[in-house]
């Protein structure tokens, strides 16, 4: 099913170019600890994301992919360069993004529905109106009947699905996901990947996903931004030209295997075992 309850129409970004919905240009991030030498976390990053596109940032630990995502979310400031979202420079927290974290990060004292409604609560939106949408989202991810349970009563996969509902409830333009399935076991993870593709198809959101799993990035994305560590740089931007909708069998295909090998090559060359 699809989510039919549309939230009250938000801000329209008429000036924004749908082909450059997210625009990163020559972006640097340098951490300057007080008592030690500066650390270059990101250097010369540049890519664009079309509206409705699924883009993954992939790379080993320390390549700055999470830092990049937090800059997109406005949680940390960039040092120099351009970072625009929907035609506006990103300056601080914003309300047109939804974020999914590695841990589901549900508040244990709230029920599942109350957790999903957290963005509505925080942003003082019309609770009655969004409640119907929250229930539809929960139904979409197969959590109907669990809305009055507390997070500890749910399995890890179920908690993460509730976290995705929370990120979608206020109808953000962009979904930012920081290794959302990293804490799940392999089978749950495959299932959640299929779920995510379905949610993406039905909601039409722009998704930027951070992962250290190359096959996951290939399976999910339209494009993959490949990053290397110390300092975090982009080494390649790979268009994933595989048919949609995608099924798990796709990963056994030669085409998918070729993409995985092509991306992995960068890390083998860098001596990163993965």
């Amino acid at each position: 099913m699809s989510v039919t309850t549309q939230p009250p129409s938000g801000t329209q970004h008429r000036d924004a170019d749908v082909d450059r919905w997210i625009e990163i240009h020559d972006l640097d991030k340098v951490y300057r600890p007080r008592k030690s030498a500066p650390v270059i976390a990101l250097q010369g990053i540049g890519f664009t994301v079309r509206q409705g596109e699924f883009v993954s940032l992939v790379g080993p630990s320390g390549c700055g992919k999470t830092t990049m995502l937090k800059i997109l979310a406005g949680l940390i400031p960039k040092t120099s360069g351009t970072a625009r979202l929907a035609g506006e420079e990103i300056e601080g927290s914003r309300r047109d993004i939804g974020m999914v974290f590695q841990a589901a990060t549900l508040l244990p004292w709230r029920t599942i529905l109350e957790n999903v409604m957290l963005p509505i609560d925080v942003q003082r939106l019309d609770k009655k109106r969004y409640r119907a949408r929250a229930m539809e989202l929960l139904e979409m991810v197969g959590l109907e009947g669990f809305e009055d349970r507390h997070p500890r009563e749910l399995s890890g996969g179920m908690q993460q699905r509730a976290g995705i509902c929370r990120a979608l409830v206020h109808d953000p333009d962009v979904l930012l996901m920081d290794e959302p399935f990293g804490a799940l076991d392999a089978m749950t993870r495959e299932y959640m990947n299929l779920e995510l593709l379905r949610i993406w198809r039905e909601s039409g959101k722009t998704i930027v996903l951070v992962t250290h799993s190359i096959p996951e990035a290939v399976f999910l994305s339209d494009r993959v931004v490949v990053m290397s560590p110390r300092p975090g740089r982009m080494v390649e931007l790979v268009d994933i030209d595989l048919e949609r909708p995608r099924q798990l069998e796709l990963m056994q295909s030669d085409a998918a295997g070729a993409y995985v090998r092509r991306i992995r090559k960068h890390f083998n060359a860098a001596g990163v075992v993965h």
């Binding site: 974020m99 942003q123 749910l154 399995s155 890890g156 749950t188």
Partner: protein, 281 residues
Amino acid sequence: MSVAPPQPATDVDQAPAPARSRFDLRDRPELALVPVSFILIVLAWEYGVRLLDVPSFVLPPPSAIWESLVNQLQTPRFWNNLWVTTQEIIAGYLLGVTTAFLLGIAVVQSRIVEKTVFPYVVAFQTVPKIALAPLFVIWFGFGLTSKILIAALVSFFPMLINVIEGLRSADQDQIELMRSLDASKRQIFFRVQLPNSMPFVFAGLDIGIVFAIIGAVVAEWVGARAGLGYQLLQYIYDFNIAGLFAVLVVLAVMGLVAHSFIRLLQRRFAGWTETERTVGA
């Protein structure tokens, strides 16, 4: 914080088993063990004292303590003493924990308050607060005020430290989540930091009430005209050890009732706090 440990998800669609009934004796053996051990201890005490012919001014048998307790309960003086001490405990406790709660919030929210107040707190903590009781009696007299202030002072510190620790224990991911939703500092406080601190706050309340009882009783020893602590001293002077034990029983029951009341509040208002955590008393 992690109240609920991450659960292994073997099957995404499998809901965890429903919790078992609360009153299964196999799950809660203490429901049987506590009364049984209590009876055994009382019996051993009663017959041990008789067999070994221990003088009753050293250790009276439980039967004598019980008898004294029943007699005391029939005197208006006992009820007056109980009322005086209860007032001291409750007023002192509320004063102590409320002040500690508000100061704890101020310390966590403001760096200036933290830097200014904390050195005093740390320095004061090493002072045995009970040792201030004689001073307080000199300053505030033999009445309720000096007892209330001592009870407040001794319950203040465990509460303060738990509140600070609890507010600081807020999960960084939860705070980042709130920031990603463009939440204000105030919203982060009320929706994440304050609820997160509840296990600590209740631990502080729990330790605090026990400390308040000790504080009130000890303050009465130093100088008072009424109260259970005052009564204790009278019995010691009279060598009425059974009477002394009876008052101790009353104090123990007061402590148990207060502790249970706080646990009840915790279950009612912070039911998600399954595991208890405590920071140094």
